[in-house]
């Protein structure tokens, strides 16, 4: 079930993001002096790739396994959200903000042996934007007028409109060999590891790439072990069959690791938000007071506590703390049953109303729906829970917008911009917000972009565009003798080259 949830998220709702946000943020980065640079790290995960191409529907799994490990971008995003040059040594932007010139690093080789040239970069960007591309981030890119390659070390990209996020967006474009052909079951990247084998339904093995241009990996290779059952994954960790679990999804399993000195539990930063999304187009949810009333009637703290114990965060809006435009907005619609009741009366529903809540059939949605139902009963609102599959959700809610309210998790970072799109499934339509989002994207500086998106964030919280129930925790569990693994896993990537074992 869990796998299915992520598959949906990867393919549909929030779309799997491929950030190169690696760097060993976590674990005990002190490392062990006895680390064995030939030791193979065994990684346990619930997210097997669909195929090996992130523009061909590979999904979240291939991002986790390949991002930064097998493929690299012109830029990478660090754990604290900063963009750093990777295969590019730097870039210049024309004064009108439309033309970007990138210089490529020297001495970079693909796993096939071919040297990296500007033609590969052009090919790779075009591959993401191609009509048959299934890249999750395709729609985030601005219109590109032209990509030219004046010499093998230089790439020039001309945009149709200014795009402050362009360089950031490039951090999840894998640079692939333009001669490689189909990459569905093979790879040709420039990363510190190359693919050694993929046994579908079971394991994916990466070995060190001898001719890597940068600092070689601190281990001898990695094996990703794929599980469909969270308990089976936990058992593998308990029996040392895996060294580290990329993201622990089973709250009940945590105590057995937290209380055991042989394991280390790391609480990282997540970008996955659980939303009670209203259809803002239809009554009664077209009235902000009604949405605010519901937001105030639900005790998010109690909900989070009952599902995740002491893990996870309350956010009060769409922006997680790792986005540059985060502000704490948990006070805008605080839990207060009396406020909720008076807001309902103001909106003309003193005796409440009833609505249908479309609830995806996988964890944690059904549990959350029951909680929401009992909370809203206290203010006179009757909730009819309608359980649907992820496929039905996509057709009914996302495509046809035929719903009153729904529960859904949104995994991406920087996705507050969806509130600027009146056609998005939740139908929030505030021309001011739409305008701010547009201006932010075309802003000349990041400071201005941040300022505008902060205003967006504030406004949607004021309007209670949706009810942001909580931010998921991001928990990595590892054996104590492992260090240097990423703990934030911000957008499902798991860079393994800094992991030390021994």
């Amino acid at each position: 079930m869990k796998k299915q949830r992520i598959a949906l998220l990867g393919a549909v709702v929030a779309t799997a993001v491929a950030l190169a946000a690696c760097g060993s943020g976590g674990g005990s980065s002190a490392g062990s002096p006895a680390a064995d640079s030939n030791a193979v790290v065994q990684i346990g995960s619930l997210y097997e790739p669909q195929n090996l191409d992130n523009t061909g529907g590979g999904g979240q799994g291939v991002t986790e396994a390949f991002n930064g490990n097998v493929y690299e971008g012109l830029f990478r995003l660090t754990d604290d959200g900063k963009v750093e040059p990777l295969l590019a040594t730097g870039n210049t932007v024309s004064p009108d903000g439309l033309t970007y010139t990138f210089t490529l690093r020297d001495g970079v080789k693909f796993h096939s042996g071919k040297a990296l040239t500007s033609a590969d970069v052009k090919y790779s960007i075009e591959k993401v934007l191609a009509p048959d591309s299934k890249s999750a981030r395709k729609s985030s890119f601005p219109e590109i007028k032209q990509i030219s390659t004046p010499d093998p070390k230089t790439v020039t990209v001309t945009l149709a409109t200014r795009s402050i996020s362009f360089v950031y967006n490039l951090s999840y474009v894998w640079i692939v060999n333009d001669q490689a052909g189909s990459l569905a079951s093979k790879e040709d990247g420039t990363g510190p590891y190359q693919l050694d084998g993929w046994k579908r339904g079971s394991t994916l093995t990466l070995k060190k790439f001898a001719d890597y241009w940068g600092t070689p990996a601190t281990n001898g290779g990695v094996v990703f072990h794929y599980f469909t059952d969270g308990s089976a994954l936990d058992n593998a960790l308990l029996t040392n069959a895996v060294d580290v679990v990329t993201t622990e999804q089973n709250p009940d399993a945590l105590p057995q690791f937290a209380d055991n000195p042989a394991y280390k539990v790391s609480d990282g930063k997540s970008t996955t938000k659980l939303l009670l999304a209203f259809n803002d187009r239809v009554a009664p949810f077209d009235k902000p007071q009604v949405r605010k009333a519901i937001s105030s009637a639900i005790d998010n703290k109690k909900l989070l506590q009952s599902i995740w114990g002491d893990h996870g965060t309350l956010i009060g809006s769409m922006v997680p703390p790792t986005d540059p435009w985060y502000t704490d907005l948990t006070g805008v619609n605080p839990y207060n049953v009396d406020t909720a009741k008076s807001l309902l009366a103001q909106a003309g529903y003193p005796n409440g109303f009833s609505f249908t809540l479309d609830t995806p059939n996988y964890d944690p949605h059904p549990t959350v729906a029951t909680f929401v139902k009992s909370e809203l009963a206290k203010v006179g609102i009757t909730v009819n829970i309608n359980v649907i599959t992820s496929d039905q959700w996509y057709t009914k809610v996302y495509q046809n917008k035929d719903f009153a309210a729904t529960l859904q998790e949104h995994v991406n970072d920087r996705d507050v911009v969806w509130y600027g799109d009146p056609d998005f499934y939740w139908g929030y339509n505030n021309p001011q917000v739409t305008d701010w989002v547009k201006q932010a994207e075309q802003a000349p500086t990041e400071a201005q972009q941040t300022e505008l998106l902060k205003k967006v964030n504030q406004q949607i919280a004021q309007d209670a565009a949706s009810d942001w129930l909580y931010l998921y925790p991001q928990i990595v569990v590892a054996r104590a003798e492992i260090s240097g693994y990423p703990v934030n896993g911000l957008n499902s990537q798991f860079c393994a080259y800094g992991i030390k074992k021994g």
Partner: protein, 319 residues
């Protein structure tokens, strides 16, 4: 017998064709559009149409069916809608887990169930018979995944003698690891299977024990085992063999829960993934192969029954 074999093989082929038509059509009745599974956020109607065209679901059903059968005729299963990878090699790879798992569990179940069930019938009025009755009833009631979890807890988490799950990356190239990976799943499936087999063996044996011809054989001076061997076993075997066939077929795909508990890359989990993603080529491929396997098992079980029971072989003898 040759004529029977030919006729029975023709029946098998006919059933297979019929089954492929049925499974093809049933699949198309499922709600949902496989094209959706392929697209990312904000897909336009044009892109949906393009995706449909790419995977061929925009063509009329007969054309789609003909295309699929044409591929099957050349032993190709087509490419997955979702991954665009060929389905055939993955089925083969997963059969390398499912077939050993199913067969080993089957053999183990038979080895356990036949003597235990036989003795339980022979000693049906003693404490042993009663105990077997109770234990096998319990075995039927216990869900396989629960038994699997208990075995994992004992042998992997406490005793640390066997792996908790997974299958080695190199598969059968590392035979020791592969066998170790399969021990607990095999035992789990075998115990559950044995529990119901024991009851069939016991009741079939009881029927035979109460029969007139066996009593007569004893009266003519045969020892119990001698009479049982000459006159009893064959008679008891016929219903048991037919149940065996059904059990084997059920386990083939029914192992999906066990695959999940033990993180095994078997056929069942491939099917579940295919269904979740509306991946027609995957679903069709897996179901076709398993239908074929079930039909072959049924065929073998029928043939075995005829070999065991001469009455079925009598001229024109039909079951």
């Amino acid at each position: 017998m040759t004529r029977y074999l030919v006729r029975r093989a023709a029946l098998l082929a006919g059933t297979l064709v019929l089954a492929s038509v049925v499974l093809f059509l049933l699949l198309r009745l499922l709600p949902g559009d496989p094209a959706n599974a392929l697209l990312s956020v904000g897909a336009t109607p044009d892109q949906v149409a393009a995706a449909r065209h790419q995977i061929g679901t925009d063509r009329p059903l007969p054309a789609q069916f003909a295309h699929w059968i044409g591929q099957l005729a050349t032993l190709h299963f087509g490419n997955s809608f979702v991954s665009s990878l060929p389905v055939g090699p993955e089925i083969v790879s997963r059969l390398s887990v499912t077939v050993p798992l199913t067969l080993a569990a089957f053999v183990l179940a038979v080895v356990v169930a036949v003597p235990v069930g036989f003795l339980a019938a022979h000693k049906s009025h003693t404490w042993y018979g009663a105990l077997v009755g109770v234990v096998s009833q319990l075995g039927i009631a216990v869900p396989a995944f629960w038994l699997g979890l208990i075995l994992v807890w004992i042998f992997a988490l406490r005793l640390r003698t066997l792996p908790a799950g997974g299958f080695p990356p190199d598969g059968w190239s590392t035979p020791v690891d592969a066998v170790r990976a399969l021990i607990l799943p095999v035992v789990t499936v075998a115990l559950v299977m044995a529990a119901s087999l024991i009851r069939y063996v016991r009741s079939a044996t009881l029927d035979v024990l109460g029969s007139d011809h066996l009593r007569t054989a004893r009266a003519l001076g045969s020892s119990f085992l001698g009479a049982m061997w000459r006159h009893g076993v064959r008679n008891a075997a016929v219903p048991v063999v037919s149940v065996l066939g059904v059990e084997l077929a059920t386990t083939f795909l029914g192992a999906v829960v066990i695959e999940s508990v033990f993180a095994l890359p078997g056929l069942g989990s491939m099917l579940v993934r295919g269904i979740a993603q509306h991946d027609y080529p995957v679903i069709q491929g897996v179901l076709f192969v398993s239908t074929f396997a079930v039909l072959v098992v049924g065929f073998l079980s029928d043939v075995a029954q005829r070999l065991i029971d001469p009455r079925l072989r009598a001229s024109g003898g039909r079951r």
